[in-house]
């Protein structure tokens, strides 16, 4: 019972028990309001004040950040960490599956991500099928339960995928080698088949919606009717049609992007973002016109045939043509250095510092529809921020402290001392098991002795 209220407060950012926090003498990169040399006041998990001079509450905890930089927590709009499964690739329409159901709050990748300055990750279903599963936007509150990481301000969303992965027949996992059972190949096997999957699925979704409308109408007239069966595969698609669910589409090639925009407009829904979008530079105008964001890598390509036409200037071109662009990780590795990924767009394409920083902060916040709460250092927003020892666009910069809702989840100094404690605890347990094994006669001990040194 002792820990319960604490974790509950942390989860909702109601840190009534915690004193206010003031970060002083910092270079505050607000992202939306320029750079402020001064202080930031945090109260109840929210940013209260930012300025050269601030009102320091009497009981405030002071963090001196002289010579250091404060940046909003990085938002990774495309991640696959912290989940026990990523793909339900057995069927081409797996909209009933939810990442939220399989979050693993103990995945060490979460801790590594916050150590790299990332505070929010959009954990997406994989790209094994045309219509994948429901994604989960989480705050990386390391040490908390899965439920406490799921962010209550997030919008429901779903993953779609185009190109090589979803058309890989008979390959339920999205891997590179077929599952072998040629009698049970998964449809489709071509790009035009993928288009057909969308048309068919949304046709069914519309019929499903109609069946409920009809039922409600009959019921209103007082008729006795059997209600339709709730279909968890089609419900999310109805939500897409009604604009209640964001759509993130895995896409590489320009022609596929055009196809997707065309059928989305025919069917009647909006594409929130194209993910990876290596050929965004070819179709930036069309994306901007449809209103979809472009989220992808800075300089990674040629890892498969459909990824050969990419250029590192992609991000900059999309930005210049009016596409809401962001850089994301798609990997437990890159998620630790998204600041550096953003910096690459300054070299390739000449984005300004602020434009580069936006790619990993406010821009993903806007396309994920959470910019009211996060993505910049502004009074009223969630106190999700990172203190960097150098300018975060420098490849030498390292995150020193990371806060989510005003609560510190990473501290580089504390990490160093915690490592020693953890190592000692580990060693003690290992020794305990070893001595137990030696005391216990039997095959286990014998096997251990026979092992070559």
């Amino acid at each position: 019972m002792k820990h319960f209220p604490l974790t509950l407060f942390a989860a909702f950012g109601l840190l009534a028990a915690d004193p206010p926090l003031v970060v002083q003498n910092a270079n505050i990169l607000t992202v939306t309001k320029g750079t402020v040399k001064g202080s930031m006041v945090v109260e109840n998990g929210k940013i209260k004040e930012v300025g050269e001079k601030v009102l320091v509450p009497p009981d405030a905890k002071i963090v001196d950040a002289s010579g250091q930089y404060v940046l909003p927590g990085i938002i990774d709009s495309h991640s696959h960490i912290a989940a026990d499964s990523i793909n339900e690739g057995s069927i081409s329409v797996s909209s009933m599956v939810r990442i939220e159901d399989v979050l693993n709050p103990e995945d060490a990748a979460i801790y590594r991500a916050i150590a790299g300055g990332t505070t929010i990750a959009n954990v997406l279903h994989g790209s094994a099928n045309a219509i994948g599963g429901q994604n989960s936007l989480i705050k990386l509150r390391w040490g908390k339960k899965a439920d406490e990481m799921i962010w209550d301000k997030s919008q429901p969303s779903i993953k779609f995928a185009l190109g090589e992965n979803p058309k890989r027949q008979g390959n339920p996992t999205g891997g590179r080698v077929g599952a072998g059972n040629v009698n049970t190949l998964r449809y489709p096997g071509t790009r035009m088949g993928i288009e057909d999957v969308y048309v068919e699925a949304f046709t069914r979704a519309k019929e499903y919606r109609e069946s409920w409308k009809q039922y409600e109408a009959q019921k209103a007239k007082g008729e006795t009717v059997i209600p339709p069966r709730r279909d968890l595969q089609l419900e999310p698609l109805v939500e897409v049609l009604e604009g209640k669910r964001l759509v993130h589409v895995h896409a590489y090639r320009g022609d596929e992007v055009l196809m997707m925009i065309r059928i989305a407009e025919q069917i009647g829904f909006k594409i929130t973002s194209f993910e990876h979008i290596l050929e965004g530079f070819k179709v930036a105008k069309e994306m901007a016109k449809h209103g979809s964001a472009g989220a992808g890598f800075s300089d990674w390509w040629a890892f498969k045939i459909e990824a050969y036409d990419a250029i590192p200037y992609n991000m900059a071109i999309m930005v210049r043509k009016g596409v809401l662009a962001s850089v994301n990780s798609d990997s437990a590795d890159t998620i630790r250095r998204l600041n550096t990924e953003a910096a690459k767009t300054m070299k390739y394409g000449g984005l300004t510092e602020e434009e580069a920083l936006k790619l990993v902060t406010i821009n993903p916040a806007i396309h994920l529809k959470v910019d009211k709460y996060v993505g910049s250092i502004e009074p009223g927003k969630d106190a999700d921020f990172v203190i960097w020892d150098k300018h975060p666009l420098s490849s030498f910069a390292r995150a020193q402290q990371v806060y989510i809702d005003g609560v510190k989840y990473f501290d580089r100094d504390e990490d160093a001392s915690a490592r020693m404690k953890k190592e000692a605890a580990k060693k003690a347990l290992e020794d305990k098991f070893k001595s137990e094994q030696q005391r216990r006669p039997g095959p286990a001990a014998g096997t251990a002795q026979r092992r070559p040194q």
């Binding site: 009933m96 939810r98 693993n104 059972n181 009717v225 098991f433």
Partner: protein, 437 residues
């Protein structure tokens, strides 16, 4: 009615006729001057238990046996209610391993059939709720004498293959005929999170969870639609669904959760399901006593405590969390008892019934009071599966299942002297004792 029969009924007024007839051939049995641990009532330092017609006829310090009774001198012995294996596959002698179904090579009978692949929840993949352990148990399972030698008289036995694997039964571990083993034929549904490795839906954990969710929605819809159609014959009648019938029929459902975050996951998920939840596994339950208690969930702790990999690379170091799990898993029952969570034990995956008893001893060493261990394996298990009106304690009128030991249960030097099942005394043979050690 003979005089003798009338006597029996006088002694065991609650005895159903069938059971009385079954044990007809056996004379009354009196175990006297023994220590009695009735569970649910205070222990008796020196007393007797009288068994007539398969039921407990009297318990107390002064019990007189009718003429012709078989008398067992209980000096130095302790009488417990018969131990119940709270979750097992005892009696099912050809058991498919839990996670193998649909994985790798299919069972031979399926291999020959034309290939069909599950394309979604509607195909009800890995779903066999109509399979009942009660239909499949056999008196010939070679593990039964081993279990009796270790002190078990009863088991809750389940089919374990598939997502909705089938329905479990409470069985007694000895009988002349199979039908007599079954005490209660349908006590719950067993589920696993097995994926469909053959290539069909579901092939991921989240797919399995989505499948569970849709299937429960379908089951409730089926029940409602059937009820509406029954009242309104002009409406189209929903088709009979064998799979959903079985799911609705089960009085409770067992879901797996081993790690703490899996417990959280299942607590969250099962709130959506229209069935009484029992969680099994629970090795990291020592971190979730409070949450389980608050949710009012009953628990079945698996007695195969986690071990290190035998031939693992010595250079590979395990995570601290994994090491802690291995170190502290046996403290789970103690934590659950303290938190007021109703629990019992499962022996699935444990090498032998005797090893299961030793595993309980480890839980006692890690903080579980001995009396709580006994309760979990007797009345606790009976309550969880809804058979406490017949089993679980030494009480007049209950089924005469007794475990009689020399020395307190769970001590290294303890010997199970004999067990009584449905009023019949079973002595462990020398080989059985040796085999189970």
């Amino acid at each position: 009615m003979t005089t003798r029969r009338r006597d029996i009924l006088k002694w065991a007024s609650l005895a159903p006729l069938a059971a009385t007839l079954k044990a007809d051939g056996n004379p009354p049995l009196l175990i006297r001057n023994a220590k009695i641990v009735p569970v649910g009532a205070p222990p008796i330092a020196k007393g007797s238990v009288l068994v007539i017609g398969g039921f407990i006829a009297a318990v107390g310090e002064n019990v007189t046996a009718p003429a012709g009774s078989q008398i067992v001198e209980g000096e130095g012995l302790t009488i417990y209610p018969g131990l119940i294996d709270g979750l097992s596959t005892l009696g099912l002698d050809a058991v498919a391993p839990v996670s193998r179904f649909g994985a790798g090579a299919p069972p031979p009978s399926i291999a020959a059939a034309p290939v069909s692949i599950s394309r979604g929840p509607e195909d009800r993949p890995l779903t066999t709720p109509w399979v009942k352990a009660a239909d499949q148990v056999k008196t010939t399972d070679r593990r039964l004498p081993q279990a009796r030698s270790a002190g078990f008289t009863t088991a809750v036995t389940f089919p374990t293959s598939g997502i909705f694997a089938g329905q479990g039964a409470v069985i007694n571990l000895a009988a002349e005929r199979t039908s007599q083993m079954v005490v209660e034929p349908s006590v719950g549904m067993y589920t696993t999170l097995s994926t469909n490795r053959g290539g069909g839906f579901p092939n991921s954990l989240m797919g399995v969870i989505a499948y569970l969710r849709q299937t429960y929605i379908d089951a409730v819809h089926y029940r409602e639609a059937t009820a509406i159609a029954a009242k309104n014959p002009q409406l189209p009648r929903p088709g009979y669904e064998k799979a959903l019938e079985g799911i609705l029929e089960a009085p409770r459902t067992l879901f797996p959760a081993v790690r703490a975050y899996e417990i959280d996951r299942m607590l969250r998920l099962t709130k959506e399901f229209p069935t009484k939840t029992v969680l099994y596994g629970l090795h990291e339950g020592f971190r979730r006593g409070e949450e389980l208690s608050k949710a009012g969930i009953t628990a079945i702790v698996n007695l195969r405590w986690p071990e290190g990999t035998r031939d693992g690379d010595p250079e590979d170091r395990e995570d601290l969390k994994v090491l802690e799990l291995r170190d502290q898993a046996p403290s789970t029952p103690g934590v659950l008892a303290k938190s007021g969570v109703k629990f019992t034990f499962s022996t699935i995956g444990v090498d032998s019934p005797a090893a299961a008893i030793r595993a309980v001893k480890r839980a006692i060493d890690a903080g579980l009071p001995q009396s709580e261990a006994v309760k979990a394996m007797t009345l606790g298990a009976a309550e969880i599966f809804g058979v406490s009106n017949r089993l679980g304690s030494i009480e007049k009128g209950k089924v005469a299942n007794l475990t009689v030991t020399k020395g307190d249960l769970f001590q290294d030097s303890t010997r199970v002297q004999f067990v009584v099942i449905d009023g019949v005394k079973h002595d462990p043979t020398v080989e059985e004792t040796a085999a189970s050690r």
